[in-house]
Amino acid sequence: MSHDLYGEILLDHYRLPRNHGRLENPTITVEGTNPLCGDELTLDLEFTGDHLTNISFSGRGCAISVAATSMLTELLKGKTIHEIEEWTGNFRTFIREGKAPDGVDMGDIQSLAGVAQLPVRVKCATLPWTTLEQGLVRYKGT
């Protein structure tokens, strides 16, 4: 099972996380934790209108949560809130069923397919998405 889990794409994101660090002037900073593993994640979000113009992350976590966060930032930087919500739905389906919804190309995220079979690790891959959702709620409320 875990064989394919730690594949080259995932390891690449783990070793060289994209958009890692802090933003100078984030519109919203949101934190997420996974008490079971002790993963801690901070997302800095910069919005311009309804566009997520910049995003970065910091914190600590396992390879799966770091790679999943890195992939998320790469995928969603520059997207509109509407598009982000659509991707969040796609990701939920993907992590529940282990495969992308019909006609959707998950890109690098596809490499997380094995996580769907590991209930204990699903939370690691989902953490950046639930954290981002909280960020969106906060932004929309402002």
Binding site: Y6, E40, A63, R121
Partner: protein, 407 residues
């Protein structure tokens, strides 16, 4: 005397392949595997002697009652309890401790008194006391530890004054492996009039335990960590203390006479065994104890000690690895971290090589904070593990370092 090869044959699960590799099961502190002798005992009992206990006057009812009570005697002898009447069957250590927290704590621990614990307790020996202390207005105190993860006896003595109603302490830490001097602590506690509960979940499976010698007031352990089934555990209590307590769970079995508006309590130990008890589990546990007796607890202790020493030594020498807990005189658990690798990734990568270890906070979050870590990996050993399996684990750790490119 069985050889290790013969012992391993008694545990069919050890022949399993995991991810194409031979299983190396090093998560014994979480739960142990079961020998065929225990599984057979379960089947034989259910096939030929099963019925509810202490009720029917029919033949099967009598057979089941005889076997169930024989299991109680077997447990009492195994831990040299002063009397088998003080052996109460529960669902596990957790329920045993909750029983004491409710039936003893809420009745006898008074407002302003203290409960003395240690920072190395499993949540099962911490959270029940938090709730109980809150409900009666008692204070929780924590026995300080030295940097090596052993108790600071001098510092603890200062906290152990006459305001302490109860000392609740683990016999062997499920993370650090520390073996606490429970005999000495029971003596000290009794001198100031405090009662003592010992969490023996990690001790009884691994070393000869003599309850008469330890002389605590309560001692708790679980069947599933000592080759027995899940769903059964033990609370031993001193008879005079148990006599003074009110019941914990109520219903059938635990009563003597019931009227519409009140009831009187059954004799010990039945007063604390409400409802249909874990009958077949008790019979299976009894067979597991027979197995441990056949192998010999002295042998189990020295064998797992040798495994632990080897693992501790190899892990300590491995670059980037931090090992937690005392270097010597420890139980068969070794918690560690590999720099740059989250324990969950390590456990997942070891699983790829067939090696089962635990990763996480091990139900000891305050201890994780004390160690200043989020989580650790943990290898824990039992009578069926071999020296070669530790080498397999070390190779798998090196492989994990390579995969995650940790030097």
């Amino acid at each position: 005397m069985k050889t290790i090869t013969e012992i391993r044959k008694d545990f069919p699960i050890l022949n399993m392949k995991v991810n194409g590799k031979s299983l190396v099961y090093l998560d014994n502190a979480a739960s142990s595997q079961k020998p065929v002798q225990a599984l057979d005992a379960f089947c034989r009992f259910c096939e030929s002697r099963y019925a509810n206990v202490h009720r029917g006057v029919h033949t099967l009812g009598e057979h089941a009652t005889t076997d169930y009570e024989a299991a109680r005697t077997k447990v009492a002898e195994f831990v040299n309890a002063p009397s088998s009447k003080g052996i109460i069957f529960t669902r596990g250590t957790t329920e045993s401790i909750n029983l004491v927290a409710y039936a003893f704590g809420r009745r006898f621990v008074k407002h302003g008194q203290a409960i003395l614990l240690t920072p190395m307790e499993h949540h099962a020996n911490l959270v029940p006391w938090q709730l109980m202390a809150k409900s009666v207005g008692a204070e929780l105190r924590f026995w300080p530890m030295k940097p090596d993860g052993t108790l600071d006896m001098e510092a603890g003595k200062k906290l152990l004054d006459s305001s302490v109603a109860l000392v609740a302490i683990t016999h062997v830490s499920n993370v650090l492996g520390t073996i606490n001097p429970v005999r000495e602590i029971a003596l000290m506690a009794h001198q100031v009039g405090a009662k003592v509960l010992v969490d023996g979940a990690q001790a009884v499976p691994h070393m000869p335990v003599d309850l008469t010698e330890i002389d605590a007031d309560f001692y708790a352990f679980s069947g599933h960590k000592m080759l027995g089934p899940t769903g059964i555990g033990v609370l031993w209590g001193r008879l005079d203390v148990l006599e003074d307590m009110e019941p914990f769970l109520t219903g059938g079995e635990m009563i003597k006479e019931v009227y519409l508006d009140h009831a009187t309590w059954n004799d010990l130990p039945y007063k604390f065994e409400a409802g249909t008890p874990p009958i077949s589990e008790a019979i299976t546990l009894s067979a597991a104890i027979s197995y441990l007796n056949d192998v010999g607890m002295e042998w189990v202790y020295s064998h797992t000690r040798a495994l632990t020493s080897k693992a501790y030594e190899l892990l300590s020498q491995e670059p980037g690895v931090t090992v937690y807990g005392p270097a010597v005189d420890r139980g068969p658990v070794v918690a560690f971290n590999v720099a740059g690798i989250h324990p969950h990734d390590l456990a997942a990568l070891l699983d790829q090589e067939g090696v089962a270890i635990r990763a996480g906070h091990h139900c000891a979050q305050p201890l994780m904070r004390w160690l200043e870590v989020q989580a650790t990996a943990r290898a824990s050993f039992y009578l069926y593990n071999t020296m070669e399996e530790i080498d397999v684990m070390m190779d798998a750790i090196r492989m994990a370092k390579k995969v995650l490119r940790v030097a």
